[in-house]
């Protein structure tokens, strides 16, 4: 049975701002869904509507088959982890985790048992008597998760829970969240603007752009077959190279003198794209175009080469990603081939994949 269903959900704020026009999403039981998109695209708005912290302006929200549009947050059987953790500062870690159970009228023994077992799972046993301000950022994050977990909710909601942590801890917690979620099997809706986090955590991703779902799919679907240039640019790091071009009888015409042969019935302006990791360095005869190198970023395991391709009227910036260390000279030319199986072509007008 599908667990959470968003049916034509929309949000208009009281000031008239149309944050989310309409979204349809069906989440299966135990699924880990990540909402990803740039700042201000409506991720938090959507999550908060599911939580019951924002009213739903339009559409139906179903949890376990029941319509919950007008239910209080407490009655939706959800738990949420906030970006700033929102731990009650005047309560101990134990009291923070026990608060929700207490409000439900659980007995002291049951509360103690549940809190202890979750604390053990998260390694919080030693911290139960501390106040939040006596904890490190990572520990606070754990407590916030513990508080969500003790209530054993139907749905977990996370709003950028890792964005206040340093890079290393973020990776560690990311792995941990995924493992915990697998173990508990709780349906999860997770918001982030970090595409790496999104790719690694998600069973399915929802890419939001200006309140619209650009594409919904597995991380590999989105990587291999982005539906729009927006998704293409958003998923993958560094971003996909996207160049405005024309599709004619001879193929993709990038400029007066440069075209990539392709047989396709579509005619007109298109966006042509290829990921930095799919460009091959070749010798001059086999190359599709030359890159004038402007900057080299060596990361040891891989090298990012930034440069421009001369398209006559304009210099188009292109990034190439090569494995291993490379030390090409700045301002020299790098001959590149773009294998056709890695091309992404989008209609420039409809922004849809061709």
């Amino acid at each position: 049975m599908s667990d959470v269903v968003l049916n034509n959900i929309g949000k208009t704020y009281p000031n008239g701002y149309h944050a989310i026009p309409s979204i349809d999403l069906t989440i299966e039981e135990g699924e880990f869904i990540v909402l990803v998109g740039p700042s201000g695209c409506g991720k938090s708005t959507l999550l908060r509507m599911v939580a019951g912290l924002e009213t739903i302006s339009q559409g139906d929200l179903m949890i376990k088959g029941a319509k919950v549009n007008d239910k209080e947050p407490a009655d939706r059987d959800i738990a949420m982890v906030f970006q700033n953790y929102a731990l009650y500062p005047h309560m101990t870690v134990y009291a923070n985790m026990a608060y929700g159970l207490k409000n439900r009228g659980e007995s002291k023994e049951v509360i103690a048992e549940k809190v202890t077992s979750v604390a053990n799972m998260l390694g919080l046993e030693e911290l139960l008597e501390r106040k939040p301000k006596q904890l490190s950022g990572g520990q606070r994050q754990r407590v916030a998760m513990g508080r969500a977990m003790v209530r054993d909710p139907k749905v977990f909601l996370f709003d950028e829970p890792l964005s206040n942590l340093d890079a290393k801890l973020r990776v560690q917690m990311r792995v941990e969240i995924r493992q915990l979620q697998r173990k508990l099997g709780t349906t999860t809706l997770y918001v982030t603007h970090d595409q790496v986090e999104a790719m690694t955590l998600a069973d399915r991703l929802v890419v939001l752009n200006k309140g619209k779902a650009e594409q919904i799919g597995t991380p590999m679907d989105l990587y291999n077959k982005p539906a729009t240039p927006f998704v293409a640019a958003f998923i993958g790091s560094p971003s996909m190279n996207l160049i405005g071009a024309n599709l004619d009888e001879q193929g993709i015409r990038l400029s007066q003198d440069l075209h990539l042969p392709l047989v396709h019935q579509h005619r007109g302006s298109v966006v042509w794209g290829i990921r930095p990791e799919h460009l091959d360095v070749v010798d001059e005869q086999n190359a599709d175009f030359a890159l004038r190198i402007q900057a080299v970023e060596s990361l040891g395991a891989e090298t990012l080469i930034h440069g421009t391709v001369d398209l006559g009227v304009k210099q188009e910036p292109i990034v190439v990603r090569l494995s291993g260390p490379h030390w090409p000279e700045i301002n020299s030319l790098l001959w590149l081939k773009a294998p056709m199986e890695h091309w992404h072509v989008f209609d420039a007008v409809t922004q849809q994949r061709l």
Binding site: A74, M80, F82, N84, Y88, P89
Partner: protein, 291 residues
């Protein structure tokens, strides 16, 4: 950071007016009162006689003095409690209002700008047993209101007039305190299944405790030392001595009863209290209340 003044005299010149005022209106009278407390003066102020601690001994053996301490305590705690409770309630309401927020807040701050004596007269008029609208209205409902005869009613009246003014001040602090409570805490609590009532008492109110404690001290100090004007304008300490606080008694004994020695001794006791309160204020408020 240190500031360097090229002129050696300028800084002294700048603080001089403040120093002169403190000297003339505070230190000098304080010194006079301190001296006076050890003398017995005749009613016309023509002669006086050194009596040592007699004035204090007499004072602390006087049941009337204990009565005034009791009146002060009842009065001060009533003022502080009702002032805090009403202000908190208003602040919670104003915090919820979205439209016309500023108007409410401005209106609620006005009473603070009214002079204490004026506030006293206002309430005196409203509650006047023979023509005050509130008094007549109470009488209509069968409450026999006459604060000239009934000591408890007189106390109620002075508490109301003293509280009324203080509500604005408390309100501002509570409102600021409420607005400083992170929204996400309230949201987390509502997801955790706490009703609005429970959210307030288990989350918001504990988080306001530093503000509440600060205001409690401020209000007690106000009620102790700064309500002479209000009492004088409404009940003049009466009926009998039922609303004569310690401060009012200093005035009454000194300027009406012309017992300068006792009045001065009472002033010294009050100065001592001010000192204690100041220490409390600095010690605890500066350090903030831990939650």
């Amino acid at each position: 950071m240190s500031v360097y003044f090229p002129h050696k005299k300028l800084p002294y010149l700048l603080v001089l007016p403040q120093l002169v005022i403190t000297l003339i209106f505070f230190l000098w009278p304080a010194e006079q009162a301190f001296e006076q407390a050890f003398y017995q003066e005749d009613a016309f102020g023509l002669s006086r006689e050194f009596v040592g601690f007699d004035n204090f001994v007499y004072l602390f053996n006087d049941p009337q003095y204990y009565k005034s301490i009791w009146v002060t305590l009842v009065f001060s705690f009533s003022v502080a409690f009702s002032g805090l409770a009403i202000a908190l309630w208003l602040a919670v309401m104003a915090d919820r209002v979205i439209r016309g927020k500023l108007t409410y807040q401005t209106l609620l701050v006005w009473p603070y700008a009214v002079a204490p004596a004026l506030a006293g007269v206002l309430w005196w008029l409203l509650f006047d047993p023979s023509m005050g609208p509130v008094a007549l209205w109470l009488q209509y409902f069968g409450v026999d209101w006459n604060h000239f005869l009934n000591g408890d009613q007189a106390m109620t009246l002075v508490v109301i007039s003293a509280t009324w003014k203080q509500i604005s001040y408390n309100f501002l602090f509570f409102l600021a305190g409420l607005q400083a409570v992170p929204r996400s805490l309230i949201e987390a609590a509502s997801i955790d299944g706490a009703s609005p009532f429970k959210r307030f008492w288990t989350i918001v109110f504990p988080l306001l405790s530093p503000t509440t404690f600060f205001l409690l001290v401020i209000n007690l100090v106000y009620a102790f030392f700064d309500t002479f004007g209000v009492i004088d304008a409404t009940t003049q300490g009466g009926p009998g001595v039922s609303t004569a606080t310690m401060v009012y008694k200093v005035f009454n004994d000194g300027f009406i009863g012309l017992d300068m020695g006792s009045s001065a001794a009472q002033s010294v006791v009050l100065m001592f209290l001010v000192g204690v309160m100041t220490v409390i204020q600095f010690r605890y408020i500066e350090r903030k209340v831990e939650y």
